[in-house]
């Protein structure tokens, strides 16, 4: 497990290629070991064996952004059904604006 996993959403995928990130999103679709989540835009993710996603619920994944801007999931946590995604988007903004308390580099 990497020591830092900055919180991002879909528009920031390109900036974080090959880095381990955290994303909170809503599960849109599940197809075997891949899934699509929405986090200010849709993201295709590749699941590990333990991840248990449920369509329609929020999830937080930790994973590595691949060169094709998909994410290879290392762990996923169910975040329930009452997540305010606007707050998450604001947090992503704050994370990168004041990154001195969130991540290096």
């Amino acid at each position: 497990m990497s020591e830092q996993a900055p919180r991002i959403n879909a528009p920031l995928l390109e900036q974080f290629q090959n880095r381990v990130v955290r994303v909170v999103g809503k599960v849109l679709e599940l197809r075997g070991d891949t899934a699509t989540i929405d986090s200010h835009g849709s993201i295709t993710i590749f699941l590990d064996r333990d991840s248990q996603l449920i369509v329609g619920r929020a999830t937080e994944i930790v994973g590595k952004v691949q060169p094709d801007l998909t994410i290879k999931v290392m762990s996923a946590v169910d975040f329930g059904t009452n997540i305010d995604f606007n707050v998450y988007d604001s947090l992503v903004e704050v994370n990168h604006l004041y990154k001195e308390i969130f991540y290096d580099g």
């Binding site: 020591e3 955290r22 909170v24 937080e60 997540i83 305010d84 704050v94 004041y98 308390i101 969130f102």
Partner: protein
Amino acid sequence: MNYGDNNYSTNSYGGGGGAGGGGFVNNYSGSQGGGASQQTPGSVSRTRGTSTLRPVTIKQILEAVQPHPETEFRIDDLELAHITFVAQIRNISVQATNITYIVEDGTGIMEVKRWIDTDSIADDSSSSKLAANQYIRVIGTLKPIGGKRHVGAHQIHAITDFNEVQYHLLEAAAIHLHFTRGPPEQFAPAGSTEATPYGQPANIKGRDTAMGGMGGVQGGAGGANCPPNASMMARRVFDAIRSLPQNNDGIHTNIISQKSGMAMPEVLRGVDELLTLGVAYTTTDDSHIAVMDF
């Protein structure tokens, strides 16, 4: 947002350590007699920072500095007492005297130790329900042991509403910005005497040192303000000078120290910064400081 208040309660009697005995009794009678003002008599160095609970990220904990061994850790140049954070459990190991959790919040990894209290069985069962990958809120204190840091937890509980994860990180950022850039009110449109977002009239001088509060902006004509980039130390010196009657001779640094409850080295650093910023100047000698009234 009350976190900062206790931290900046200053001794309004002007004395150093001699003004009062134990904190609680005097504090209570002080607030009875003094109305709204929050006074904390007693030694400034002992009262400052001892009763704060600050929300932080693990990165902030890892980067907290300890100026000298055996002194309190500092974040943003502010003493830490209790800290709170939200993180995900990565590993749990149960030992004879404590349970050690390795936790991670996306900003860093930290070890959290919860001492096992043999007297309270109920306590044990609540923490043994925690599992890897679960999000928890920790309230505790930062401990250095042999150069390695860990957090001694007073309380750990599982997060059930995951908005709390986002909330906590935003709160940590808000507090960090409060202490590094000053209270948010100063970024309100200049000259506004209307209500602030907190519903208080903007012309209440909230950062008055005798009140111990931090918020507020001096509204109206003739009100002088610290530049937004001034540090908290410079701000407190500035406010201490502003709170005293102004004259051509300026204010002696000893008086600033008494008025603000700051130690002399901190006062001098604040004064230096104000001089560099061009908002204060020395008068009859280097120890007398006056502020620009613009």
